[in-house]
Structure formats: structure tokens, C-alpha cells
Symmetry: C2
Amino acid sequence: MTDRILEFLRNRREDGPCLVLDLDVVRENYMSFSRAMPDTRVFYAVKANPDPNVLELLAGLGSCFDTASVVEIEQVLASGASADRISFGNTIKKERDILRAYQLGVRLFAVDCEAEVEKIARAAPGSRVFCRLLCDGAGAEWPLSRKFGCDPEMAPRVLEHAHRLGLTAFGLSFHVGSQQRNPGMWDGALKTAATIFRDLAERGIVLQMVNLGGGFPTRYLKNVPAVKAYAQSITRSLHKHFGNQIPETIIEPGRGMVGNAGVIEAEVVLISKKADADKVKWVYLDIGKFNGLAETMDEMIRYPIRTAFDGDSTEPCVLAGPSCDSVDVLYEKEPYFLPVSLEIGSKVLIEGTGAYTTTYSSVGFNGFPPLKSYVI
Amino acid sequence: MTDRILEFLRNRREDGPCLVLDLDVVRENYMSFSRAMPDTRVFYAVKANPDPNVLELLAGLGSCFDTASVVEIEQVLASGASADRISFGNTIKKERDILRAYQLGVRLFAVDCEAEVEKIARAAPGSRVFCRLLCDGAGAEWPLSRKFGCDPEMAPRVLEHAHRLGLTAFGLSFHVGSQQRNPGMWDGALKTAATIFRDLAERGIVLQMVNLGGGFPTRYLKNVPAVKAYAQSITRSLHKHFGNQIPETIIEPGRGMVGNAGVIEAEVVLISKKADADKVKWVYLDIGKFNGLAETMDEMIRYPIRTAFDGDSTEPCVLAGPSCDSVDVLYEKEPYFLPVSLEIGSKVLIEGTGAYTTTYSSVGFNGFPPLKSYVI
């Protein structure tokens, strides 16, 4: 929460929930990453928030960009960054999208299997590829499935295949899980990566880069370690496993870059009880899972909520969205404590919502419009 | 799947997944409901698919409409239906939205607590209200939470409050859970409803209507009973519990009206294995949870998938979407059997996707556009 955001909201008159994102905070976050990891290039994960103002700011600061699709590549190019600062980091790409990316100048691609290597060899000849490793994601608040990456046993073969097809076997990537609260989690993956570097070097293939992924957390209700703690832990692991042959490194912060820069203002639509004996109240907001708060899925991300009544006594509430969909409930298994004095029509501020909110919005589920966004 | 849809897809040239919806099937579904339940008014649940062509067809056939928001009310009015055919069925409404609905001519509102009754009394004086009852949703493939409705013990007080404030205490509603496969599930709720009718009649308040809700299933992989079976079971229960004082009834089919009218065409983007020893393949489509298939959440809805290789031997596959989001996996806990001969670039047809697909699409998560839709 910043004074600029509060000032903006004081003057806002439109109806409906909105996100307000403060670019000063994004700038500070970028500088924290750069300062804490001066030898590491930052590839902002565009999917976290592709707002043109965010992309232009980061392009101006010298950031590189991790993209998931051709549309995101075009958005980055429109922000003023050149194609050599873009990674097409999605391991699942149509061959014609690889071709379009190549035509736009992109030369860095993620893979996790031989079939994807073959597409890139055909559509983007001579490009650099990095192979994503499966990582178990322990310690992350939003753990990853096995969807991305291959078993470390398989990775050397994938990269050898790339080398054989005329691509540059450039490096490895992994992702320790989103909102990763344990800086030590990078150590195991770096140990594995170093082993693969040595294996391939023995076969004449010299990898150059380790993509440390994202996972850097933003502060929701619990405190999280500072970027510096992550940097120190990662540097220690790099020296331990790579000795004096430290590879080039990149990071892909998304949530860590924009999460704490945004605040959503929402309104209480209804407060009710389901039965006289119920111990919890139901509080319904005008925002829910389908117009911005998709990351409350399985109650994984627990956002801090501020009200004008903070400090009053609180009571347990089930928090739900406004749609006619029974899954549109934000917090129920673990009720959320809100002030007793909260009323229908009260505004609430949902903090830490700069990442993964606007773009998860549905086009118009139940007729509710997508989340409005103001970047200031 | 209809010949008209197949014909349309044969001539389609654009890239990307799309939904094709056959209005002939919607018409047949409407006629089945009307024929099977001639004394019941049909309120189509607009949220299932608010395409203007669907709304115009149903308006022309004489359907009424269940709406979740002012935007949906405006969509229905634009289709040619008059305001007296509209129910504002969301129990969670801003008072200024109730006022707008009232100004547009809507006079029928859902409630489930006294606070909502008070809003309606202020913003839509003299309107009819029906009180939604909590229902446990057993037997449904998409069971409902406690989000909507109040305990049956509380309902008479809510309706008395409406009566006291000058509203017409019009009736009761309940919802037995979406994709409800047991026609007998309406019986318990009707028994409860009849008790409340008698209670209130003793206090001088004569309710007139029972809203039987939605829940009528569409056929996915398992067979479901025909509409007729639901109609017979419900009629039997009405006679059993209401004797010769059968109230006016309405139903709110959404999925049951449009689900089987639509087919999504998608493309296989990648097929891979995560490790040599893995028994399941990963098959990635160009559609996933964030651009149309949100109802695969928790693997609840299992769509039938057709390929050009049907009949070949099959193998277990994890099915996933194209986004850089690890939760964008459609079927993993229970793998999906697909032909061994399926290839990267193959088209697949996902059936039963006419409801709850286009509107759940995100505005552009990962840069992927919302699901395209063609109504033929």
C-alpha cells in the first residue's frame, strides 16, 4: 500500500472493483533484484502483469522479458525492448508460433523434450535452447505440477539432440515453485544442474546458462525473506556446485516484481448468515474468482485485506465473490477474520494483488466485466 | 456432435481453438423441456452461454430468463424478450443494481437473507421475491457450496420480512446441484418447500411459486436420464407434497439447454514424456483451464473427446493446456485414454462444451485470446 495509491482511490468515482498499481514500487523491486544479484540478468515474467506501462518501465530500466506466447512477445517489442532481450519461455509452443517469434527476432527458447527441440530446429534454426528440469516445488505456496520440465536424467539427451540439429544447447532452467518461502530450495536444483553441465562438457557440449526461474515471493499475510537472502543463498550454492566456473545466470521474477505494487479496491455487497446458529458470517464482495482473484483457488494465496474498521473486534467470515457460481468462494475452509463493524457498501482494500489478477479475469462471467486496472 | 458442426469445421481456416454451437440443438432442448413440463415456465440461465443468437432464439420460442447481473438483463432485453420474462436470480446484488433492474422493468428477485430483502424493498418496491433454500447437492457432479440459500428454518422469517416491507412474498427456490444425475433429488427439497408454504399460509402469507432451479445434466462421458424422467419424478413429488394445491413452477436450465449443442475444436500442441520410465504421456492442447475449459477444475467435468484416430489402440495421457501455469492441467489424477496414433498438430473435438466455456475464458492469460465462438 502506498500513499499514491490511497490518493488515487480517494478521487476515484467509478463503480466496480479495480486494481491500482504503483510503478514506483515496481521500479524499487527491479532495483532490489539488480542490486542483490548484479551478475544475473532479470527476465520479467510478462504473464504476471502485461500492462504496457509496466513493460515500458522495465524496458527502460534495462530488464529482459520471459514470454509465454507470441502476443506477449509483441507486447514486449511494443514497449521498446529489442528481441534479443526476450526469452520464449513456454515449453509448449505451436511450430508456427516458434516461426513467428523467430521472424520477430527471438533467438532464445525453452524446451523439455525432443519433439519441441525438433520444432525449434525447423522453425528457428540456430537458436539457443535451454532445457527445463522437473523440480518438486516443496516449500512453495503455489507448488507446481509435473507439467513443465523433464526428469534430470532425460535433459542431457534433449540438449544433445538440440546440438545435433544445429541449435545452441545453451543451458538449463528450473522453477522451485511460485511464492517460494525457502531460499535454500535453489540448492538441490543447482546441484543437479552442475552435474548435467559436467556430463555434457565431457561429451563436448558446453552449456553456458542457468535460468534460476521465478518463485521469488511477495508479502501476503506472512513475512517473506528479502531478495537479498535469496541472492546470498543462491550465490553460495552456485559456488558450491560450479566451483570457479560459474555460468551465466538469469531469473524470471513475476510475482516478486509486481505483486506488492498493486492493491484492489472492492466493495462489500452482502453480509448474511445461513442459519441462526451459524458461527461464521458470509461476506460477499464485488470481486471473486472470476473477475480477478483466481489465485484464491484452493485458498492458496491469502491476501491481506484492509478496511476502514481495522482495530475493531473481528469475527470469522466466509469470503465469497459476487457470481452465481458456487465455486466462487475465496476463503471458507479457513475463515477470514474481519471487523464486526464491516457493513454492506463498505470498501475493502486487497493488498499484494499486482500479479496474476487482471489477466486471470474472465471476459464476462455472469455479465461481470473484467477487472479494471489503473497503473499510476 | 451434429453434421452442421462438422460441416462448419471442415471449412474453417483460422488458427486457434473455437467453440461451434448448433442452434438446432438448443431449439430441440427447449422443446424437450416444454413438452416434458408443460405447466412449468422455462427460465434459461443466461450465464451458461449469453451469446446473442442463443438469447434471440430462446426469446422467440417464448422462454423466460434467469439473470445474474444488470449486464445479463440488458443482454436479454436486447434479444427481444420483455422485462416481465426476466428473473434477477442472483442472491448477491448491489442495491444500485437492483434499482437499475427495477428501472428496466424487472419485478422478480431472488433473496436468501433479510438484508437483501431490505435492499429490494428500498430499490424495487412492490416486487416479487423468492427465497432460496440451502440444498445439499448430493448426487451432483458439480455440487454446490453453502454459498447460496438459507437454512429452511430461516426462510419463513425472510419472506415474512418481505411481506412486512410491502414486497410480494412470491415463493421459494432451491438448486439440487449442477449436472444432477439423480431425478429423485428434487423430492426432499419439495417436501421442505411444501412445509414452508403451509407455515406461511397459516400466518396469512400465500406463496405461489416454486423455482425448481437448474441441475438438469448434459451428456458428457456417462449417460444421463432424459428430461422426461426428471419431469415425471418432479411431478410425482409435487403431488405428494402439495396435494391438489400445486404451485406455479419454474425451472432454470443452463447446461441442460446449451451444453450438448456445442463442440470445441482444439489442436494438439505437444506430446511428450517426463521420464523414460513414465507410463503416461503428456498431451498438451491449445485450450486449457484459462481459455475455455475452466470446468475441468478438480477434474469435475470430464468431456468426451473425439479424434481422427478413434478406434486405434489407446494409452493413458495426462491432458493439459497451453499456458505457463502449472494448474492448467485438465486431467491428471484420472488420466484420459487417447489414441496411440495421435500426433502433434492433430485436431481434437471436445464435445458437450456449449455451456460454461466462452464466458469462463480469461481476457488474455499468457497472451492467449479468449475462446472464439461461432453460433450456427
